[in-house]
C-alpha cells in the first residue's frame, strides 16, 4: 500500500525535500505516491532518482509513484 504524500501548492524544492524525508524513514520496497503540482517536480524527480538510487513512475501530470530501492 503506497503512502500518500500530498504536496499540492508547495513550491520547489519542498516536494523533493518532503519526499527525501519520507523515503529515509521508509523500508526498502515501500511505495510513496507523491502528489505535486509544482512544475519543477517531474524534472527534479529524474535527477533525485539518479542521485539517490531510487525508482519512480509517472502516473499522471501531478502523480508520481516512488519505490524505495536503495
Amino acid at each position: 500500500m503506497a503512502f500518500e504524500l500530498d504536496c499540492r501548492g508547495k513550491r520547489c524544492p519542498l516536494p523533493i525535500i518532503e519526499l527525501s524525508k519520507k523515503i529515509k524513514e521508509s523500508e526498502l520496497g515501500q511505495e510513496v505516491l507523491l502528489i505535486s503540482d509544482d512544475p519543477a517536480t517531474a524534472a527534479d524527480l529524474t535527477a533525485w532518482a539518479r542521485m539517490t538510487g531510487n525508482e519512480f513512475k509517472v502516473i499522471s501530470a501531478d502523480n508520481f509513484l516512488i519505490t524505495k530501492s536503495n
Binding site: 520547489c12 519543477a40 524534472a43
Partner: protein, 365 residues
C-alpha cells in the same frame, strides 16, 4: 563588499574602467548623426570606423562581415528569420539554446529540437540524421547558465555536409569563441567582454545567403540605430578584455577547477553541470539536492557573494531552468558562479570555506 560572481550575463560585471571613460567622453561630445556632414560628424564616423575594424579584428572576422546592433537580444532571432527559406524550411536547434532562439520555432512550419546528454553536449548523431540540405540550424557555442561548450567544429562539419545554414549564438563565449571553418551567421554581445549593454555584433559570412527580414527600402543588413558612444566603448572593452584574458585565463580555469574539486570532495548529493574539459573556463553551475536556492542565494549574499540561480524558486518564472532540465540535472538548489578577470584567489578560498557549512545548515532546516 567583495562580489565575485554574476548572473545571466558576464556584463553584469562592471564595465571595464577604460571603456567607461571612452563612453563618458563620447557622451560629453554629444555626437551628431554620423551620416550628417559636419566636422563632429566626420570625427564620429572616423572613430566608429576604427571601432568597427578593431571589433572585427579582435573577433577574427572581416570588417565587411560585421554589423553593430543596438538591440543585441534581437540578433539571433533576426539572423534566423533572415536565413534562406526560414518559415518553411526545417528549423533545427539545441535543447539548451536561449529561449529567444527556441521561441523562433513558433514562426516555422517545421522544427526539430536536438536533445543533449547529461554533460550538455548536443546529440550529434541525431543532428546528422535530422539535417537536410535546406535546414536552418541554430546552435550556441557555449551555454551562459552552465558554461557547457558545444563541439562546434563537429557540428559545423555535419551542417556543411548538407550545405545547410548555420547560425551560431556566441553570446556566452564572446571573445573566447573559436569559429569553425563553416558558418553562416554569428551573434555576439558586448556584455560578454565587459562592454556596455546595448551593443551586439551580427556577423554574416561573406558569400553566405541571408536577407534582412526587417522592412527596408534600400539594401541594408542592419537597422544601424545603435549608439556611437556605446559602440566605441564596446570596441575598447574588447581590446582590454583580450589583454586581461591573456593574463588571467589559466588562473580562472584553475579557480573553477578548485571549486569543482572542493565541492565534489566536501559536499554530497550535488550535480555539477558539464565536465571540466568542455566548459568555459570561468563558469560553473552547482545544484545541491534538498536545498532551497532562495535560501542559498540569501546566505551567500550575507557573506558578500552575489551568485545567480537557475532554480524556479529564485528566477521570476514558475518554470525551472530549461537548460538544467534538458540535461537531466537537478533544477533546485542551483547556484551559478561566473568569474570575472579581477576575481581574487582569496575570494574563492573564502567561498569554498563557507559553502559546505551553509549547505549542511540549509539541509538541516
Amino acid at each position: 563588499m567583495g562580489i565575485i560572481t554574476a548572473g545571466k550575463y558576464e556584463g553584469q560585471h562592471p564595465i571595464h574602467p577604460k571603456a567607461r571613460q571612452i563612453l563618458l567622453d563620447a557622451f560629453d561630445q554629444g555626437w551628431a548623426d554620423p551620416t550628417q556632414i559636419s566636422s563632429q560628424g566626420r570625427q564620429a564616423q572616423a572613430l566608429l570606423d576604427q571601432a568597427r575594424e578593431s571589433i572585427a579584428k579582435s573577433l577574427g572576422l572581416k570588417v565587411d562581415e560585421i554589423e553593430l546592433w543596438g538591440e543585441p537580444e534581437l540578433i539571433s532571432p533576426i539572423a534566423i528569420w533572415g536565413a534562406p527559406g526560414f518559415g518553411v524550411s526545417p528549423f533545427i536547434y539545441g535543447a539548451t539554446e536561449r529561449s529567444e532562439i527556441i521561441g523562433m520555432r513558433g514562426k516555422s512550419k517545421q522544427f526539430f529540437e536536438i536533445s543533449v546528454d547529461i554533460d550538455g553536449a548536443i546529440d550529434l548523431e541525431l543532428l546528422t540524421q535530422t539535417l537536410q540540405p535546406n535546414s536552418i540550424v541554430a546552435i550556441q557555442s557555449a551555454n551562459i547558465e552552465t558554461g557547457v561548450i558545444q563541439n562546434i567544429k563537429a557540428i559545423a562539419k555535419a551542417v556543411v555536409a548538407q550545405n545547410a545554414h548555420l547560425h551560431i549564438d556566441a553570446t556566452a563565449s564572446g571573445a573566447r569563441f573559436v569559429k569553425p571553418s563553416y558558418w553562416s551567421t554569428l551573434h555576439f554581445d558586448a556584455r560578454s567582454w565587459n562592454g556596455p549593454s546595448g551593443v551586439g555584433v551580427f556577423a554574416l559570412k561573406n558569400g553566405a545567403r541571408w536577407s534582412n527580414p526587417l522592412p527596408h527600402t534600400r539594401p541594408t543588413r542592419a537597422p544601424n540605430s545603435f549608439s556611437i558612444p556605446l559602440a566605441l566603448a564596446a570596441a575598447s572593452a574588447l581590446e582590454h578584455w583580450i589583454a586581461d584574458e591573456a593574463a588571467n585565463s589559466t588562473r580562472l580555469k584553475s579557480l573553477i577547477e578548485r571549486v569543482r574539486n572542493h565541492v565534489k570532495q566536501t559536499i554530497s548529493d550535488v550535480d555539477i553541470a558539464g565536465n571540466a574539459e568542455s566548459t568555459l573556463p570561468n563558469i560553473i553551475s552547482l545544484s545541491f539536492l534538498n536545498v532551497s536556492s532562495e535560501q542559498l542565494v540569501a546566505e551567500l549574499e550575507i557573506e558578500g557573494f552575489s551568485v545567480a540561480s537557475g532554480s524556479a524558486c529564485v528566477a521570476s518564472a514558475l518554470e525551472p531552468s530549461h537548460v538544467l532540465k534538458a540535461m537531466g540535472l537537478l533544477t533546485h538548489g542551483n547556484m551559478r558562479i561566473n568569474l570575472n578577470h579581477d576575481v581574487q584567489d582569496g575570494e574563492i578560498t573564502k567561498l569554498l570555506a563557507l559553502l559546505p557549512g551553509i549547505i549542511s545548515k540549509l539541509r538541516e532546516n
